[in-house]
């Protein structure tokens, strides 16, 4: 079995009296694309934030790439930050910088890189994310929603991270754009050996990209497994989600796609 890169044990998160997670366990293995699903407000974004150290959980442990997040020193956290990339739900690009400058921000922490190299590397990431050259000189506000997502991905990939966290990468994209984005994520993850932690509502994305799925419900990870495993699970929300009409349509589409190949 592949190495475990993220290990969450007994995680508890709460805001005031509102408990979001309680006793949540999750493992993520190297090189896989893990899809995290769950109803709106079940705490997918909060889970992502607590794994990446943006919020400190009330209890439990998060171990990422061999570093225990709780009690890690500043230097350890900095080193860890270079090995992960995060794409936020709404892009979170710096609005006063061009796309290229946005991607150069993480690179500016690397010692010894001259400005020309930084720009060239940023351009490379922009191109790998499927954006045309001139998008690099534009400000985020001048891009369409789909292009902003790609720019966010380019910034997340700037340091060649080992793990990327994507929060709803295809939300708000048209189906064709979303399919292209799915393809991009899958292609990059295979080519660069990325581990991907992907939060999504999009069934098509799940079917097209994910190796494994984790379902968030009842304040914990209810089940993990492949898509086929999900169809066996006897839980009302999981059944509704994976056996509902939209799921059937997505599955049929994939089946049809495979049939043609």
């Amino acid at each position: 079995m592949a190495e475990t890169v993220i290990e969450v044990r007994g995680l508890r998160n709460q805001f005031g009296t509102h408990v979001v997670h309680d006793g949540l366990d999750l493992d993520v293995y190297r090189g896989e694309i893990l899809g995290v699903v769950g109803g709106s407000g079940t705490g997918k974004s909060v889970l992502l934030r607590s794994i990446t150290g943006l919020i400190t959980p009330a209890a439990g442990s998060v171990r990422m790439l061999g570093t225990e997040m709780r009690g890690a020193s500043e230097a350890e956290l900095d080193a860890l930050a270079e090995r992960i990339g995060v794409m936020f739900q709404d892009g979170a690009l710096f609005s006063s910088l061009t796309v290229c400058e946005n991607v150069m921000v993480p690179l500016s922490n690397v010692e010894g890189l001259d400005a020309r190299t930084r720009e060239a590397l940023a351009r490379l990431k922009i191109s790998l994310s499927g954006l045309p050259w001139n998008a690099g000189d534009k400000f985020p506000s001048e891009l369409s929603g789909g292009m902003r997502k790609r720019a966010g991905l380019a910034r997340a990939l700037a340091l060649d991270p080992e793990i990327v966290f994507l929060d709803e990468p295809t939300a708000g994209l048209d189906p064709i754009g979303a399919a292209a984005f799915d393809e991009l994520i899958r292609g990059l993850s295979r080519a660069l050996g990325l581990t991907v932690f992907l939060v999504t509502h999009d069934l098509d994305t799940l079917y097209a990209t994910c190796d494994r799925i984790a379902v968030l419900a009842e304040k914990r990870v209810l089940v993990t497994g492949t898509l086929d495993d999900m169809l066996e699970v006897d839980h009302p929300w999981v059944r509704e989600y994976f056996l509902g009409p939209r799921a059937r349509a997505a599955r049929d589409a994939i089946a049809a796609g495979h049939g043609r190949e």
Binding site: S95, S96, V110, T117, L124, S141, D160, G193
Partner: protein
């Protein structure tokens, strides 16, 4: 593609073999190793043939792949025979991905330089200035039109918003305005006393304080403080709504931004600035009287008598008449700058500071024009 810490730190070693250079990449290479690698690659010169051997490379990242591919292209262009061999597994995959994904520059027309460009910039600046003046006039017109509209159809008038803004721009500014005017009065009395004592004309300090504060300083300084405080607040509030497309949303919901945002704000200023000016006048005279008493021994009663007989009420009127004009200038400039905010956080900051500068400048300019006007009509 394991990235254990057991990966040896990689590097590039160059060796000569029968007139050819063999560049052997070993171990794991990442961004940290890139600067050194670039330096080594830059030393390779055409026309010697170069073979990049990647069979011992454990791991490379896209930056390394990019540097290798670029060095190869550079040497190939200079006429050297180059080859990349031995890449396997993940390393080969990354090389392929980067090779396919290499960005293709698009030529953009270079910006013009020289005299012509300088003239163009000058012209654009002038046109921009004229445009923002027109924008100011446009918004002023909109304000007046909406205000008159509200007189005709009072139902459209937003009383709650007006009261809210009256509190924000008026009530909450009282302490700072009163304190400022009090201190100005103190300073005037102090300085005036020092000068007038030389002529034994101490008692004229009352006229000095009264006329300068009532006519000019009270209202002018109040307007400047309000310009700094309120114009920036208007710009920031309206600008951040503009940034988040709230103003567009209002339009689509049939809410007129003129009614909802501009009339209450500007009208609140028009109502409040005269009151603030009056408070400033009182506080200034109080400060002056206090200082005169301490410094010159002019008792409050004597100060009042002197004030009543020596100072005409027209001075106070001349001062306060200016207040509504200043208020409109400040309010409209602040709102106008808010509507001019683009969709970046930076433009919000830029517009906020330019609103303050423009509002203060407009207030002082208007005050100068008023002085000339009153001089001419002899008030």
């Amino acid at each position: 593609m394991e990235r254990d810490d057991s990966d040896e730190r990689g590097g590039l070693s160059l060796a000569e073999e029968g007139g050819e250079i063999r560049a052997v990449v070993t171990g794991a290479l990442g961004l940290r190793e890139l600067p050194e690698l670039q330096e080594q690659l830059a030393r390779l010169e055409a026309p010697r043939a170069v073979t990049f051997d990647l069979s011992d490379a454990q791991r490379i990242d896209t930056g390394i792949a990019w540097a290798l591919l670029r060095a190869r292209d550079r040497l190939a262009e200079a006429g050297a025979r180059t080859e990349i061999t031995g890449a396997q597994g993940a390393v080969a995959q990354i090389l392929d991905t980067v090779r396919e994904g290499l960005p293709k520059p698009q030529e953009e027309p270079a910006p013009e330089r020289g005299l012509r460009a300088a003239l163009v910039r000058l012209g654009e600046t002038v046109a921009g200035g004229a445009q923002s003046f027109l924008g100011f006039l446009g918004l002023l017109g909109l304000f007046v039109a909406r205000l008159l509209g509200a007189v005709v159809r009072p139902r459209e008038f937003r009383l709650t918003a007006l009261l809210h803004h009256c509190q924000a721009v008026g009530l909450q500014a009282v302490p700072i305005v009163a304190l400022m005017a009090f201190l100005i009065g103190v300073v005037l009395a102090f300085q005036g006393a020092a000068q007038l004592r030389q002529f034994g004309a101490e008692v004229f300090v009352v006229d000095l304080i009264a006329i300068s504060i009532l006519r000019e300083l009270g209202i002018l300084l109040t307007a400047i403080i309000v310009a700094g405080r309120t114009a920036s607040a208007f710009t920031a509030a309206i600008g951040s709504m503009k940034m988040r497309e709230e103003i567009d949303a209002m339009r689509t919901l049939g809410i007129d931004p003129g009614h909802a945002l501009i009339v209450p704000r500007v009208l609140a200023l028009v109502l409040m600035l005269p009151i603030l000016g009056l408070i400033a006048n009182l506080a200034g005279i109080f400060g002056g009287a206090l200082m005169s008493w301490i410094e010159l021994g002019i008792s409050p009663a004597m100060f009042m008598t002197r004030l009543a007989e020596g100072t005409d009420v027209t001075h106070a009127v001349v001062g306060l008449v200016k207040a509504p004009v200043f208020a409109v200038l400040i309010g409209v400039i602040g709102c106008r700058a808010g509507l001019g905010v683009g969709n970046t956080a930076e433009s919000l900051g830029r517009m906020t500071s330019s609103a303050v500068v423009a509002a203060i400048f407009a207030v002082i300019l208007a005050d100068a024009l008023f002085s000339i006007f009153f001089q001419q009509i002899g008030v």
